[in-house]
């Protein structure tokens, strides 16, 4: 493990540009991930998430800008920077000639750690990820879930301070997804900085403290998850009426009432305070409009995502 300077953020990306031929995959984005953060990187397919991750870990050459990991430039101080990062890629890229336990030893070796230095850690990781019984199996003999867990164990074998996970739960069942979420939360509690790219918006919402949304190579949002929800999406309130209406009642105009186009019994409102709600209910009662139910729907990151990118995640 490399000692990190005390002040610098875990990751600082400055005006990153990456082009593939005439196409600009990443167009001058800047962001920082503070140490200890759980940072979510969201965006549609082809938005530039994986390209940005690849630039941070050294798998992509950059055309402009600068990236620092704990204050170390990944271009000039690349050896130190890479020792601080563990990558769990989306695709399984294991060495097919090695067995499960060997994969961890060899990966540690590439990071400059001798087998005797990591033997205890390797066995602890196998135990932690439920792979001890498969320690001497080849990867081809593992289930999809085991391969996913091995990917994470391999990312941790050199005890990095930053763990970057590219779509860690893509294609896994619900049970494993929840298990991986718990593991990631535990890593966060252990003090690791975690960067996650995901298509699953509920995953980012459940795990991440800060979110960056990238669209067509540009960062369109970069905020704490809660403030992102507050600033870009609205909680919605629905009043279900006993009888359908032709149009929203005129006396509710200044509450921005809308009639649900799919159900004329539903009136929808954005952000009503309790006082405003009681006023609305009183006005409806005065006009003899019977109310059957009142529901609130919490704004989700999905709403934010749609609002900012103008499309669904996948």
């Amino acid at each position: 493990m490399v000692d990190a300077p005390s002040q610098a953020p875990a990751i600082a990306v400055h005006h990153l540009v990456k082009r593939y031929g005439d196409a600009t995959a990443v167009n001058g984005i800047s962001f920082a991930v503070e140490r200890g953060d759980f940072f979510g990187f969201l965006g549609p397919n082809g938005a530039g998430k994986t390209t940005t991750i690849n630039a941070i870990v050294g798998l992509a050459r950059v055309d402009g800008g600068r990236i620092e990991v704990f204050g170390r430039d990944v271009s000039t101080a690349w050896r130190q920077a890479r020792r601080l990062i563990g990558l769990a890629p989306q695709e399984y890229n294991f060495d097919r000639y090695l067995r499960v336990r060997e994969i961890l030893f060899y990966q540690a070796g590439y990071y400059g750690l001798r087998p005797r230095e990591v033997a205890v850690r390797v066995d602890a990781l196998l135990e932690r990820f439920g792979l001890s019984a498969k320690a001497h199996a080849f990867v081809a003999q593992l289930s999809g879930g085991m391969k996913r867990r091995l990917t994470l164990a391999r990312a941790l074998v050199h005890d990095p301070q930053i763990v970057i996970l590219d779509e860690p739960t893509a294609g896994v069942d619900v049970e494993l997804r929840l298990e991986l979420w718990e593991t990631l939360r535990a890593l966060r509690r252990e003090g690791k900085t975690i960067v996650l790219t995901t298509h699953y918006i509920e995953e980012a919402e459940a795990l991440c403290e800060r979110i960056g949304i990238i669209e067509a190579g540009r960062m369109v949002a970069l905020e704490k998850t809660e403030s992102l929800l507050r600033s870009h999406a609205r909680d919605e309130l629905t009043i279900t009426l006993a009888h359908p209406l032709q149009a929203p009642p005129p006396m509710l105009a200044h509450f921005s009432a809308r009639l649900d186009p799919e159900n004329a019994c539903r009136l929808r409102f954005e952000r009503l305070s309790p006082l405003q709600l009681s006023e609305v209910l009183a006005l409806l009662g005065r006009d003899g409009i019977d109310v059957e139910a009142v529901n609130t729907e919490r704004a989700t990151l999905q709403d934010v995502f749609l609002a900012l990118t103008g499309r669904g995640a996948r």
Partner: protein
């Protein structure tokens, strides 16, 4: 320098070789034995000696070179291409390993593997043909240079290949024909003058000529020419392989 990382890659290359021992270690040894029996002992008994030794003894160093060239190129190219194709190479690319360490690791792993094969054949030569190198220093030097030359070429073509079939292009259309006309089976002095002159354009001729000198003490063009030519080709090939890996050619996007 990441010496542990470098040693890990060399170990990995050796481990791979022994996991596919029936593809990479035994075939060159068995095919050399067959060449020795059929061409060296059966047909060779009807041929006069060349360079002061029996035909079988003349043949052996050429056969060693043939297997070293074939093995060094074939294994380093396929190992690197597979690692690219399965993305397993990313294990190294995200780690603190330099281009120099990666190239040296692949080349050194290949040199060790071909050194093993060559030495088994050398021992068989002692037992069956009663021939041993007369210059051990030259024997080792040429083996290392030629293995490094062709494993560097393997890296270059392993990087350039878009599919597995591309790797075979160099073997099928260049290495195999040039090895067969490069002096494995005969001295250029026994060839028609035009063909003998054309042989001087064949880079593989110099590798065989230099290596045979370590056995027979004789050379068709002189060690002072063949050894520097081999060394120059090795340096050039290694430098190109290094430059390609350093630039991240088809490794980093």
């Amino acid at each position: 320098m990441n010496s542990v990382g470098l040693w890990t890659l060399i170990k990995r290359e050796m481990k791979r070789s022994f996991q596919i021992i029936n593809q990479v270690i035994w075939p060159p040894i068995i095919s050399t034995l067959l060449y020795v029996f059929v061409f060296g002992l059966a047909l060779g008994s009807r041929i006069k000696g060349i360079q002061g030794v029996s035909y079988a003894q003349f043949l052996l160093p050429g056969l060693v070179m043939m297997q070293v060239i074939d093995g060094a190129y074939g294994e380093s190219s396929s190992s690197l291409f597979q690692a690219r194709f399965t993305y397993a190479i990313q294990e190294m690319l995200v780690a603190p390993m330099s281009a120099g360490e990666i190239v040296f690791g692949y080349v050194f792993g290949s040199v060790l593997r071909t050194f093993l094969i060559a030495n088994v054949i050398m021992v068989l030569g002692v037992l069956l043909l009663h021939t041993t190198p007369t210059s051990w220093g030259l024997y080792v030097a040429v083996l290392v240079l030629v293995a490094a030359l062709f494993s560097s070429l393997g890296i270059i073509f392993g990087l350039m290949a878009e599919k597995y079939d591309n790797i075979a292009v160099l073997t099928t259309f260049a290495i195999t024909p040039l090895v067969f006309v490069g002096g494995v089976f005969t001295s250029i002095h026994l060839l028609p003058p035009v063909v003998a002159h054309l042989s001087l354009l064949n880079p593989i001729f110099y590798t065989i000529d230099a290596f045979r000198y370590s056995y027979t003490g004789q050379s068709d063009v002189g060690l002072a020419i063949s050894l520097p030519v081999v060394a120059a080709m090795t340096v050039a090939s290694y430098a190109i392989a290094y430059a390609m890996v350093r630039a991240g050619y088809k490794l980093r996007t």
